[in-house]
């Protein structure tokens, strides 16, 4: 099937990068997470409960909602932190992009490793601007807050289209569709990666693939 791809662009100040990315990623994952599955007899299953919590941003006039899962939050923060460091160290103009990819695993016969087939990719292009005065920063706080509101509305719009979602798996297949490693919620299998682009627009320097909870090399 075709992979859906959505691109969002944000222009932020250096210290807003993390929060802006977290807001977008958490909003997407909120929609792409369910409660933990508990399989019972005869192929039926019940679903746990997903808690939600508000997060206020410190550098942006914005609040977003995320699932109440500390592990998931930690994983995202780690990835975003690495992206931010890479962005800072790259020198360049502060252009980079982060991708959140939802995929399904397809078992292959030995000796081939499992295939990862993405079905939805969210890409956030980040452009870092440098501001000189405090007043500009204050304006930036508000502006970025408003922009993020628009992004959230865009994300919700895409989610609302009810396009392809993997079928609910049987117990044996659940790990091919969902990330069952978290104790409290169950997002679809996802990968986060990022690229730093230099001024020429080509993806140079390092393309770092960050694999989270994904057994790749078996």
């Amino acid at each position: 099937m075709n992979c859906r791809s959505e691109v969002l662009e944000v222009s932020v100040e250096g210290r807003q990068v993390e929060e802006a990315l977290l807001a977008v990623l958490h909003t997407v994952l909120l929609h792409r997470s369910t409660g933990k599955f508990h399989y019972k007899k005869e192929g039926t299953y019940s679903i746990g409960t997903v808690g939600i919590q508000d997060v206020d941003c410190d550098f942006i006039d914005f609040t977003y909602v995320r699932v109440s899962s500390e592990e998931l939050d930690r994983a995202l923060r780690k990835a975003v932190g690495e992206f931010k460091d890479a962005l800072r160290n790259s020198g360049g103009d502060g252009l980079g992009q982060m991708s959140l990819e939802f995929y399904q695993k397809k078992k292959s016969r030995w000796p081939f490793s499992d295939e990862c087939i993405p079905w939805e990719v969210w890409t956030v292009k980040v452009h870092v601007v440098a501001l000189a005065t405090e007043q500009e920063r204050q304006i930036c706080r508000e502006k970025v807050g408003e922009k993020l509101c628009e992004k959230i509305i865009n994300i919700v719009e895409v989610m609302n289209r009810h396009e392809y979602l993997p079928k609910m798996p049987t117990q044996s297949e659940v790990d091919n569709v969902f990330d069952t490693g978290l104790p409290d919620v169950q997002p679809y299998l996802y990968k986060i990666s990022f690229q730093i682009t230099d001024a020429l627009g080509a993806s140079v320097t390092t393309t770092v693939r960050r694999l989270i909870k994904d057994t790749l090399a078996l």
Binding site: E42, V50, I52, V67
Partner: protein
């Protein structure tokens, strides 16, 4: 149409829509409470969390929603609407948003009710959670408190968007197709928030303690009253208990099947759900600074921290008094006074005696037509009152509803018309001064360089006179008492207000009030060369100093 849908499916669908509507209202109202929401995930299904989302059920809100729905479901032409509005402390109100849950005729026959519809409704609720933080009213509701409060109203029927002003915008949260129609959730919100700044405030300041009828003539005399989006536990002392979960005693334990769709198994067990009487007696914290309450609900772990008392800062407390019950005889009157367990108010500075009254928040205890019978001074109240730092407000004081008519900072009021007696306005000291003195302020309008032979002379003189006149202008304002913002009086013996008063009229600088006869211009000019010589000697120092500035 309905023949295609099995009766079990139809029943399930109706139940889903009903609980979806109730949860929608909960999400919207909770998002406008002014606080951050936090609920916990649970890996094992508890059976009472509809749509697999941990959304707390505030009983009063559920009660209001059910009352509005009166057993019906959203259908074509009958939408469920939640109206969010803002009400200032002066009594002005303005509609901010209307959230509409509508149903249209477009049916999706192929969809599986127990599975796909349920999951999509769950997704729609998540979208609603995200969108409620994104509209402008969210930021307003986070800052509600002394100057304004956010109210909600639920009604069922035709959507009325007239109150939103011109140019309102809409955002679509999402749609879910079902075999009986397409459910659609959207929000229309006002973008023209300018009315408050242009209002003329011509009223006299209110007398403290007056009961104000909060509901001005509503264009749509609907029977549903406005409720503040703040929350307080229900009147437990009198035994007014709202069922903490849906009173139909239905539990949604849903199991899903991974087998082919034809074998979809969906069970909803009608467990005998023990509705715990809201166990709030031991956890009740009568809101003192307006922030404290905790509500025991079996499946929720939502708790609100009690406010730190005694800080008295205007931006601290959000009023958390929830008016639930409505007096049946006066549907438009918000409060039913005469119930115990009222909220003791929080004075800003306990030591400031009389001003403490000013900080009363809108308080109410729901009684829903039940006469107050229980003792006003329940043990919890006294307990919590004594826990407070001031420990003096008695619940008796709040039997009637009062409204803090506090004028916020920077309100554009012609200060001349308002005596500052019972208003505590931050920076009030400076507001009248600015208005009055702008014309005479030598900084704003520099004195004309006079054509006289002694220009220096002339300007000094005008400064002096304007200085003197500015001193007089202070007396036009009668300041009976003054409570400065952000001041605590427990540290220094001299408090900020006294300090302001003492140094309000500083004496003129001696250099500006030179006696005219003492010195003449000629003498000044004569002394100039000497001064220049001295300065030239120190030219290196000056250069070094200038270097450091660059």
């Amino acid at each position: 149409m309905e023949t295609d849908l099995s009766s079990q499916d139809r029943k399930d669908l109706d139940k889903f829509i009903k609980f979806f509507a109730l949860k929608t209202v909960q999400v919207i109202v909770q998002a406008r409470l002014g606080e951050k929401i936090c609920t916990r995930s649970s890996s094992s299904p508890t059976g009472s969390d509809w749509f697999n989302l941990a959304i707390k059920d505030i009983p009063e809100v559920t009660h209001e929603a059910k009352k509005a729905l009166s057993g019906q479901l959203p259908a074509v032409g009958r939408s469920m609407c939640v109206e969010i509005s803002l009400k200032t402390s002066e009594g002005d109100s303005m509609e901010l948003e209307i959230w509409c849950l509508e149903m249209n005729e477009r049916c999706d026959k192929e969809i599986k009710v127990s599975y796909t519809v349920y999951n999509r409704l769950s997704l729609l609720l998540k979208s609603l959670l995200a969108i409620t933080r994104v509209t402008p009213a969210y930021r307003l509701s986070r800052k509600q408190g002394h100057e304004y409060v956010i109210l909600y109203r639920i009604y069922f029927g035709e959507v009325q968007l007239n109150g939103l002003g011109e140019g309102f915008q809409t955002v679509r949260v999402g749609t879910v197709g079902t075999p009986v129609g397409t459910i659609s959730l959207s929000c229309a919100y006002r973008i023209n928030l300018a009315f408050m700044s242009t209002r003329q405030f011509e009223r006299t300041p209110p007398i403290m303690g007056i009961i104000i009828d909060h509901f001005v003539d509503r264009p749509y005399p609907s029977s549903s009253p406005m409720h503040p989006c703040n929350y307080r536990t229900a009147g437990e002392e009198v035994g007014v208990t709202y069922p903490s979960v849906e009173d139909s005693q239905e539990v949604c334990t849903t199991s899903f099947s991974t087998s082919p769709p034809s074998q979809c198994v969906f069970t909803v067990t009608k467990a005998h759900f023990q509705t715990p009487t809201p166990v709030v007696t031991d956890t009740l914290r009568v809101p003192l600074a307006g922030l404290a309450f905790s509500h025991q609900l079996s499946s929720s772990r939502l708790s609100y921290q009690p406010a730190v008392l005694g800080l008295g800062s205007a931006d601290l407390a959000y009023p958390i008094v929830f008016t639930a019950g409505l007096n049946a005889t006066h549907p438009h009157q918000l409060m039913v006074p005469g119930k115990e367990g009222g909220v003791p108010f929080t004075p800003n500075q306990p030591a400031h005696g009389a001003q403490a009254d000013q900080e009363r928040l809108m308080t109410h205890t729901p009684s829903d037509g039940i006469h107050c019978a229980a003792t006003p001074t329940s043990s919890e109240d006294t307990e919590t009152v004594s826990n407070s730092s001031e420990g003096r407000a008695s619940p008796h004081d709040v039997l009637e509803t009062v409204f803090a008519r506090k004028v916020g900072a920077f309100v554009n009021k012609p200060m001349n018309q308002v005596t500052l007696t019972s208003l505590d306005i931050p920076f009030a000291m400076f507001a009248p001064k600015n208005l009055e003195l702008e014309d005479t302020d030598p900084m704003v309008n520099p004195p004309e360089s006079p054509g006289t032979t002694s220009p220096l002379h002339g300007s000094l003189h005008s400064d002096g006179s304007s200085g003197a006149s500015s001193g007089n202008n202070h007396d036009d304002f009668v300041m009976i008492d003054f409570k400065p913002a952000f001041s605590k009086d427990d540290i220094l013996p001299m408090d900020l207000g006294t300090f302001y008063r003492e140094f309000q009229n500083p004496p003129q600088l001696s250099s500006l009030s030179i006696d005219i006869g003492a010195q003449s211009m000629a003498e000044d000019l004569d002394s100039l060369p000497e001064k220049l010589a001295v300065h030239e000697k120190n030219v290196r120092e000056f250069d070094a100093f200038v270097e450091t500035l660059q």
